[in-house]
């Protein structure tokens, strides 16, 4: 006897939903059934929100954070300290640092870190853009806030050597960020202490 399954469109929907991070087979099935059985237009609202967000959001031309204009809210904010720059691995590292209120300057996201084992080389990252900014924007301090693991350390070293000739003060956040975890998994207090306890290089 043939095993009864959901009709093809539902199976397709479940398969699509499973592509999302953190969605396993059970949750994909529950979401799919909720979408199918909804009596209001909430599922359509989600469809529209996805389309709108995909069209409106792009990386900030200057720092790489999420933006809807050419510049993000942080880069466009004239009240922020224009002489400090904080370098992070990912755009998603910026909000956790912002929450600590320990830093009021500008950011630069590299879009990753140098990792020969993952085939990520310096030219795959926004390093040229970083150098151009440091030369043009006259920062008094550049702070490195990369992860405290091997790749984070190596990438910081690489950038420090590149930026030394510019004469700008270089510092890195104090250790204590979870190794390998990156900024995302650190709590606010740890980040605050790491930022305020930074040391000059």
């Amino acid at each position: 006897m043939r095993k009864t399954e959901y009709p093809e469109p539902i199976r397709q929907l479940i398969a699509q939903l499973r592509q999302m991070p953190g969605v396993g087979p059970r949750s994909a099935e529950r979401i799919a059934l909720w979408i199918i059985r909804s009596r209001n237009d909430h599922p359509e609202q989600i469809t529209n929100a996805i389309t709108a967000a995909r069209q409106a959001v792009r990386p900030c031309a200057r720092c790489g954070f999420f933006a809807t204009e050419e510049l993000c809210d942080i880069c466009a904010d004239a009240t922020r300290a224009a002489d400090q720059l904080c370098v992070v691995e990912q755009a998603t590292d910026i909000l956790p640092l912002e929450k600590t209120s320990a830093f009021r300057g500008h950011y630069h996201s590299l879009g990753g870190r140098i990792s020969p084992l993952d085939h990520v080389a310096p030219e795959d990252l926004r390093i040229k853009e970083l150098i151009a900014r440091v030369e043009a924007e006259k920062f008094s301090e550049v702070i490195f806030a990369l992860a405290a693991d091997v790749e984070g350390e190596a990438t910081t070293n690489y950038l420090v050597e590149l930026l030394k000739p510019t004469g700008v003060t270089l510092s890195r956040i104090a250790h204590g960020l979870p190794a390998g975890g990156g900024l995302e998994s650190a709590d606010e207090l740890t980040l605050y202490q790491a930022l305020s306890g930074r040391r000059q290089l």
Partner: protein, 348 residues
């Protein structure tokens, strides 16, 4: 002690559950019945690593995606689940975010037929011996080793690229040197601590006419950073990092001569046994529970003298899990015996 042990999808076992004795527990069966896999399950449960392989991937039963081991260790429930994508460490039903606390609970010493490789094999088994020891007495040892290995593999990947770029290499020098120096110092201290114990145990087994001494031969000069800089042209030619703790070795001398070349097979077996017994004795002198001893198929290899010496020198308070093809000795009191037949386990 480990009062019970459960395996799921470990090597040849889909599911296995066994209650262990406080002293000797024997697993008797023909080769290929999976006796060693039971010992491996116990080792993975307590140490999150196998005594047989450096990766846990081969522990997963063929055709499966994950394995699980669990058991009761001194009234606590320990559990570890492994798949290629995820590792879960559970202690008393609470998932642990990192392994450090969990790894403080139980320690293991493994005796196997292949221990003779410690004496006559290349340097790798001797580094593994030190690493297995170090990660059980110093919580920072394993993270340091992992970081060093990652820096080393990264650097070697750069050296193997078509045009190694000095600036990228230099960026990896610092983590390599930093973690490498810490690892080298830890290993040197370990060797210093284990040397007198190994010498004493060896004397007890072999008698006063024979002596065992050991020391760490470092894989780099005292100033690792300078040594690395000096080796640059050589590493560009060989396309790999040529100095550092990955070249460390444990120098073993029997009666003042290198054991690999000059000792007889019997002497080599005695020296290997002394190294493992020294590990057990070192743990015994440390705080915490006595180590769990895994004794894998070595009784058949040892002559009656060495077998007696082994039994006399095993830490009395330690729990011992022993595999053999035949029940080796009737003079062991309070032994619990299991038989393995057709991948099933029977209490004898």
């Amino acid at each position: 002690m480990l009062s019970d042990l459960q395996l799921r999808n470990v090597r040849c076992f889909a599911a296995l559950s066994v209650e262990l004795g406080p002293g000797f527990t024997f697993f008797i069966g023909a080769n290929g019945e999976g006796k060693t896999s039971i010992l491996e399950g116990a080792c993975v449960l307590l140490r999150l690593q196998s005594q047989r392989t450096s990766s846990l991937a081969p522990v997963v039963k063929f055709g499966e995606k994950s394995f699980a081991v669990s058991g009761r260790w001194r009234s606590h429930v320990m559990e570890f689940r492994y798949s290629a994508l995820r590792r879960r460490i559970v202690f008393d039903h609470a998932e642990q975010r990192n392994a450090q606390e969990y790894l403080r609970l139980g320690r293991v010493v493994s005796f196997a037929n292949t221990d003779i490789e410690l004496i006559r094999g290349g340097s790798e088994p001797r580094r593994r011996y030190l690493d297995f020891l170090g990660s059980q007495i110093d919580a920072t040892y394993r993270p340091t080793l992992r970081a060093y290995e990652r820096a080393l593999r990264s650097r070697n990947a750069l050296l193997k690229s078509a045009q190694p770029r000095p600036r990228e290499l230099a960026a990896y020098d610092q983590p390599l040197v930093e973690h490498g120096e810490r690892l080298g110092v830890s290993r040197a201290i370990l060797a210093q601590r284990i040397a007198p114990i190994a010498a004493a145990v060896h004397r007890e087994i072999a008698g006063a006419e024979e002596s065992l001494s050991l020391r760490l031969a470092r894989g780099n000069e005292r100033d690792f950073r300078a040594d690395l800089a000096n080796s640059r042209s050589q590493e560009l030619r060989l396309r790999q990092t040529v100095v550092g703790p990955h070249r460390d070795d444990l120098e073993l001398l029997v009666d003042g001569k290198p054991a690999a070349q000059f000792a007889s097979e019997g002497q080599q077996r005695t020296a290997a046994l002394a190294l493992k017994l020294a590990q057990a004795r070192l743990f015994e002198n440390e705080e915490g529970a006595p180590p769990l001893l895994l004794i894998d198929d070595i009784f058949g290899e040892l002559d009656p003298n060495r077998r007696g010496a082994l039994l006399r020198n095993l830490p009395a308070k330690s729990q011992k899990l022993v595999t053999a093809t035949l029940l080796p000795s009737r003079d062991i009191a309070d032994a619990r015996v299991f038989e393995l037949r057709d991948r099933q386990i029977y209490r004898a």
